[in-house]
Symmetry: C2
Subunit: 238 residues, 2 copies
Amino acid sequence: MSSNEEDPISKAFLGLAECEIETNKVEKKIEEYRLTQLKPIYTKRDEIISNIPGFWKIVLSQHNDFANYIRASDFKYIDNIESIKIDWINSNNFHIIIKFQGIRDDFPEQTIAKKCQRIIKEESDDLDEDIEEQIISEKSEIVWPKSYNHINPELIEDKTTKEGKKNYRMGMKSFFGWFKWTGLKPGKEFPHGDGLIQLIVDDLYPYCVRYYTEAQRDLADEASDSGSSEDEPLDLQE
Amino acid sequence: MSSNEEDPISKAFLGLAECEIETNKVEKKIEEYRLTQLKPIYTKRDEIISNIPGFWKIVLSQHNDFANYIRASDFKYIDNIESIKIDWINSNNFHIIIKFQGIRDDFPEQTIAKKCQRIIKEESDDLDEDIEEQIISEKSEIVWPKSYNHINPELIEDKTTKEGKKNYRMGMKSFFGWFKWTGLKPGKEFPHGDGLIQLIVDDLYPYCVRYYTEAQRDLADEASDSGSSEDEPLDLQE
């Protein structure tokens, strides 16, 4: 680059670059402030939600975009999600904690923490690029349903056969495959695992009450369309 | 509603409603914090940008969505925008301050403040509705270009003729019509005036340096496509 620090325009560009760096720092600080402010409300809300049976089942079936990440056949297990909580260490590090109810002879009750991290994308060799964030995660241990034995990657004995490969891929694409997602082996893991993490942490969890209320309203609309006036929508506003 | 406060589920719904109200309050507080943090950086940045000739012309022609609000024929005057600044009174009240360079015999140099306000939408009679925000504004006095005399609403003598109506509407749809936009007379003002305010305050202004850098990169790409290697992209990152 032919910039010359004496030149007022080059000096201006350097100044702008400094402002951008400062803005990024301040944005992180605002994120931390945001968390500090919201955490106590979320904790209270998690506690209240635990008293509403089927809350998460309703939220997860209401959310259109969530369904794009989930195979239809996995909803049997999604419906068994008793709670979703987020445990933030800081704005860059958080655990998604999902509690499943058990299904007799198929699937044990279990609570799984999926550890996630936002990092700055490394391979940006173009210096002009904006700083891009990326989400990575750690494999979480989860007991798969017995009904998924044939696609459970741990149980497939021969992954080199056509059948073995097909089942392996199917397993990795299931919701249980998402718990294995790390973000470090593109193309070989649950598809768009980072998108699902973002969806949960930035949308489903913060706005779960909104989705729940919408679902109740839709139910009430359906009921009134079919002539019944029972089941009024649940009024969550003052 | 048949809610009974003794009933644990009704109690839970009341609790959730309280959490939502608390969240809305905290969100406002975070917005104020955000402004306090960003304002000094923006002030510094405004000062630096004033040393870069044509900065806003480049940003405004780079931004695809901005062009959707502006008639092609208005770009002659958009190109004469010397600066855009936001003066925040608080997160709900802000002035968009636009400085135009003059055009001899057509248009004076002038600086216009467009006062804007975010308010809670009133007519929401459905109690389930989420709180919806709305933007309103005040008419700002701006001197129109002489070349727009025929569509300048103040100068159209007879607004009842077909020609008069047509010119009046054309004027209201021009960028100068936007300065008259209040948000209180739907259908009779600059179309989507609130959208343009939001675009400026939430996107164009905060991310202007990003758009400027993108425009420079596009220029450099074009230059290198055509075989020339001059005009390197301006490097705004470290």
